[in-house]
Amino acid sequence: MIEAKNLTKRYGDKIAVQDLSFTVKPGVVTGFLGANGAGKSTTMRLLLGLDRADEGASSIDGRRYQDLERPLSTVGALLEARAVHTGRSAYSHLLCLAQTQGIGKKRVEEVLSTVGLQDVAKKRAGGFSLGMGQRLGLAAALLGDPAVLILDEPVNGLDPEGILWIRNLMKQLAAEGRTVFVSSHLMNEMAVTAEHLIVIGRGRLMADCSTQEFIDRARKDAVLVQSPDADALAQAIARAGGVVTPNGTQELIVADLDAARIGEIAAQEGLVLHGVTTQRGSLEEAFMELTRESVEYSADTGKGTNSKVTGGSK
């Protein structure tokens, strides 16, 4: 269980995270979604005690990270930026971390084979590819067999096989009852991995709901209508509250009304329909739609320090 309460972090006069509160529950993969620069990494660094919050507090299983007795056995973390001495071998890197908690060499070898690095364990980490580096970071996160995992963009740099592997690993870890909190800037990735989503934009909470709910709420479905009486139909639809965009002389794109309703309107008005097709909006669009508000706001005022604006859509 991870809890953040009113977290605020400033770097100079730039606000990275503002009044952010959320709870991450065990047993499901919780996605932490936001555009690049939205404050995901900063939030994770605050949770992990690497940065100090200017205001607010966070806890893991009810305690501040700094107060955990055996942090690596409580929380496993994969940070976005590499956290490995390039001159040290993968094995030695994990060993020196394990030793701080009295974790044995056997466990080091175990996690190395879990992430598939056993054959390069004695090689210097500086020569690792991005994907291998991610695997090594994951091995470090798993070292203490922690009940809470905080993973910052874990699929970065992984090949498709690696991405699939990490998705399954995260789901498995969550199924074992662990708390899995994973950040990404890719909506599509989160849609297939996370059951629950915490979405931030410009350091503020935009949504905290199930992934399905988020998609349903944010996705704008459009209906493509083909009719020889396009003009008359457009007026009728507009009267009923639909938003119509003409698309050629005999086609309309309608938002805010579903296909069934459009069919009813056409029947009432006695207009001919040649086709009514629902076009599903993409997840990326949904995400963009939801975060647009915060982006526009920042473009308007430049610095983003005005505290009156509520960017949240919740």
Binding site: P71, L79, A83, V84, G87, R88, C96, T100
Partner: protein
Amino acid sequence: MTATTVGRTTGTAGRVSFVNLLQSEWTKIRTVRSTVWSLVLLLALFLGLTAILVSLTVATWDDTDAETQALIVDDPAAVILGSGFLVAQLAVCVLGVMVIASEYSTGMIRASLLAVPRRVPMLAAKATVLFVLCLGVSLVSAFGSFFIGAPILEEKAPVALGDPGVLRVVIGTALYLAVLSVLALAVGALVRHTAAGITGIIGFVLVLAPLVQLIPGKFGEYAHAYLPTEAGILIGQTQQGSDDLLSPWQGFGVMCLWTVALLAVAGYLLKRRDA
């Protein structure tokens, strides 16, 4: 939720012990090449320069003026050890800075601090391991230097380990190097940047400290005497200079105080700053 896998490792044992941290820091320091390089360099420079410079002293003995000859005869141990270590100490400075600054340059510091979120014990363990390792290698270097230099200097200025103050000079030189490594560690922890840290500590030892000597009057005299390296080096001389303000052990004490103070500031900032 399967209670068997979740949380079974949490709270089963007490807090991380300092011995665990020492083990970890020992693993860290022995598994990077820079450690081996700098310690081999320390040994090679120390012993090599002793052999070369002491031989030169003997070879040019007849051209040396009587005053210098008298100084050498007065304190041959300081001549032998001083010939090697003046340059060799730079290797120790580099190692001390690297041990912490390379963690910042590679990002390793984040992994270290995740494992030891209270931070200061990590720095303390690092300083302890570095001190003990450097003391060990420095003792080998210092005794090696003495046993290489003494036979060469034998005919001009005989000296034995049993002579008054000589053993203190040899061990004291090693202690100076070990403390210097921790001083460099503190500087590295303060600036968190390898190049800046190395430039800082070496610039201080080789440039700034000698320059302070040029400040005229009593202030310059005292400022110079109480600088960490200038005070610390007194332990490497058997004879008190007539104008030395501090005794050898006092001087070494001053250097230790500087080191502890800088390390304390580094620890405070480590705790305060974002990693």
